[in-house]
């Protein structure tokens, strides 16, 4: 289990680093952040200065160390202060409303894209030069298109013009949010197009990576041995080639999660999807620094947890990560 233990320590360090960076950003930036906000809202009274200081967490009395400790304490209690733009909502309540949407949509779409891409990669490598393999250049073009650009086009064509899908939002205005079928059905219906966008823009990346690892793996002696053993073709593909190629693929998945999630956030903006990405946009456009920083932390922690899950899968798949001489 030392592999998981080491990874846990690493994620703790990463989490601490993110927290610390987050703490220092408002303090290290050129100029006074409070002044900056004051200047952007000219109709604020000078008396608001103290209030803004409190919201940014820079007005604490005492040494830097003291501020740091109380900041960590606040984060531990999910106390991220008050939103500037949506006063007087607390940042944590705003996050609580949006996180489930993002988690469900981005999580599901990413897992689907990864599964489909990996499967296609296996086929492309095994049926080398076959039709699946030959779709790769086209898929790479899809991947190079900015998420939001493709999202906008799909939205325009499939929703605005053809009315196949709803125009944005997370659910229809006519249903009552809650655990009832009309609402859940509406939410699923509204999530299809955003999910589809994520899948088609990211599937090529997973496919290309899996194909290349598979091509290298097929050249390994143990795959040749599998063939020499006269095993049925599917057994050689699945248990000998793909299962070994899947390990680097999984590690790549963990590393790429940060990028994937970032792209998905922007996609939410296009679809006015009530997730954390849309919240981030409103925070940016209204200079809501406390909200921005809290979103950064939340996303980082989500990616770290997702990485930990990936590591658990690696342990389940790779006997070498289980033993004393863990991989990586």
């Amino acid at each position: 289990m030392s592999f998981i233990l080491r990874r846990l320590v690493f994620y703790l360090v990463a989490a601490w680093a993110a927290l610390t960076v987050n703490f220092f950003i408002p303090r290290a930036m050129p100029g006074n952040a409070v002044q900056a906000i004051m200047s952007k809202f000219p109709n604020l009274q000078p008396t608001a200065y103290k209030a803004i200081e409190a919201m940014l967490g820079v007005g604490h009395p005492g040494s830097l160390w003291h501020q740091y400790v109380s900041y960590l304490d606040d984060v531990a209690h999910f106390n991220f202060g008050t939103s500037v733009s949506q006063y007087p909502s607390s940042v944590s309540s705003l996050l609580g409303q949006t996180i489930p949407w993002t988690l469900t949509l981005v999580g599901t779409a990413t897992v689907i894209a990864f599964a489909v891409g990996t499967g296609l990669g296996i086929i492309a490598a095994w049926r080398h030069g076959g039709w699946v393999d030959r779709t790769l250049p086209g898929l790479m073009f899809l991947q190079a298109i900015p998420y939001f650009f493709l999202a906008l086009i799909l939205l325009e064509v499939l929703a605005v013009s053809l009315h196949v899908f709803p125009i944005g939002q997370g659910f229809s205005q006519t249903v009552v949010p809650g655990w009832n079928w009309p609402f859940v059905g509406s939410a699923i219906y509204h999530s299809i197009l955003p999910a589809f966008t994520i899948v088609i823009t990211s599937v090529a990346g997973w496919m290309l990576q899996m194909r290349n690892v598979m091509v290298t793996t097929i050249g390994e002696d143990y795959v040749l041995a599998g063939q020499a053993k006269g095993l049925p073709g599917h057994r050689v593909v699945v248990s000998y080639a793909a299962r070994n190629a899947f390990l680097p693929q999984l590690q790549g998945f963990g590393l790429a999660l940060g990028f994937v999630v970032s792209g998905a956030l922007i996609m939410e903006i296009v679809f006015s999807y009530p997730g954390i990405g849309l919240l981030l946009l409103s925070a940016v456009s209204s200079n809501d620094y406390p909200l921005m920083q809290a979103i950064f932390l939340v996303i980082t922690f989500a990616v770290l947890v997702a990485n930990l899950i990936v590591d658990l899968v690696i342990v389940a798949v790779d006997p070498r990560a289980r033993g004393r001489e863990g991989a990586r």
């Binding site: 002696d221 040749l224 095993l231 248990s239 070498r320």
Partner: protein, 366 residues
């Protein structure tokens, strides 16, 4: 175009009662393999004829790049692109099969049934040849269940017996390759090769990656198992001294061609080809008289653009201009001690000493 090797020691008749004495289980005839590259074909195996009799150990010796592995894997059609077989026939006739079949003309399905059931392989590096994510048990039972119609329990049982056979504790069935020592991994590889009771086991430098003590243990075990189970072995190695002890017959390969074939005894005491003499001279003999050791200067030729005549000529101490036109056919050796010794060199006999450097010191341009 080359003579058929009809000779060889008597097969171990007692161990294989239903094999026709003297009839080869594997008969490779005139096999050629090229690697098709953009810069031209690399002729890795060039019209090679070799047979393997039931219960026999044939050693195939040559330096790296001589095509010895290509020959063996090509005969099993296990070479990857850009390899291409351009001539020959590989006839297989086993105890369990009716009649003879040409492996080069088999359908993929027939090949799948032949592989491992009839011809198993012990790979050079067990670390690389064992699937790192499957347990030893899984890797043994998958081949057993593919080729023998047995239940899961019976397959497990057989796997356990195989572990006994090669002397590894049964508890190791649950282990993964990375948890085993090098010697154990090679034993697992051997157990796997024997899992379906094959007719032929191709051993591709099975002990090269191991230290000397373990090497010895494993070779002793291989000989023992062969005596007990009666399979035939095609043993590939670059170590001629090892073959002199292990093999019944030895084939010497150079630049994709066989230069000499003969019984181990004939090769040891009456090597006819200058290359074989050079090989014999490059290691100390344990029991023989003390002599000066010499390597063979020079390097093998480019297989992309072979010169006519003998490929060994540029490195040969006996070379003459006649060598550029000599046909590369195996012919009986003049004055050979035993029957069946064949060589491509008609100019040098068994009596002559090894000569590493050209007598006239001058390079003959082929």
């Amino acid at each position: 175009m080359t003579g058929h090797l009809a000779f060889g020691p008597e097969p171990v008749a007692a161990a294989v009662p239903d094999a026709t004495p003297g009839s080869p289980v594997l008969d490779i005839r005139d096999l050629s393999v090229v690697y098709r590259t953009a810069a031209g074909d690399v002729r890795a195996v060039n019209h090679v004829t070799l047979d393997l009799n039931a219960g026999e150990v044939v050693g195939l010796v040559g330096e790296s790049g001589s095509g010895k592995s290509t020959l063996a894997y090509g005969a099993g059609r296990l070479l990857r692109p850009p390899a291409l077989i351009t001539s020959g026939a590989v006839r297989y006739r086993g105890r369990r099969t009716a009649g003879t079949a040409d492996i080069l003309r088999m359908s993929p399905h027939q090949l799948q049934q032949l592989r491992w059931r009839e011809i198993a392989i012990v790979f050079q590096s067990a670390m690389n040849a064992l699937n790192p994510v499957l347990s030893v048990r899984n890797q043994l039972t998958d081949v057993i269940r593919t080729h023998l119609q047995v239940s899961r329990a019976e397959a497990d049982d057989r796997a356990a017996q195989l572990m006994d056979t090669v002397g590894i504790p049964r508890a190791r069935l649950r282990s993964y390759p990375h948890q085993l020592s090098g010697g154990m991994r090679q034993r697992v590889m051997i157990a796997m090769a024997l899992a379906t009771d094959p007719e032929i086991v191709i051993m591709d430098e099975p002990t090269t990656a191991l230290d000397v003590v373990v090497q010895r243990d494993i070779l002793v075990q291989i000989v023992e198992l062969k005596e007990r189970l009666g399979f035939s072995i095609l043993f590939i190695t670059h170590d001629l001294s090892l073959l002199l002890e292990l093999a019944d017959r030895i084939a010497v390969m150079y630049a994709g061609q066989l230069l000499e074939v003969g019984t181990a005894d004939a090769i040891q005491h009456g090597a006819a080809h200058p290359y074989t003499k050079g090989l014999l001279n490059s290691f100390p003999s344990l029991r023989g008289s003390r002599r000066e050791l010499a390597g063979i200067p020079g390097s093998p030729p480019d297989l992309r653009d072979p010169s006519p005549g003998c490929p060994f000529l540029p490195r040969c101490g006996y070379g003459t201009d006649e060598c550029t036109t000599v046909p590369m056919t195996l012919a009986p050796v003049n004055g050979a001690a035993g029957l069946g010794q064949l060589t491509t060199c008609p100019f040098v006999g068994p009596g002559e000493p090894a000569r590493p450097v050209r007598a006239d010191g001058e390079e003959v341009t082929p």
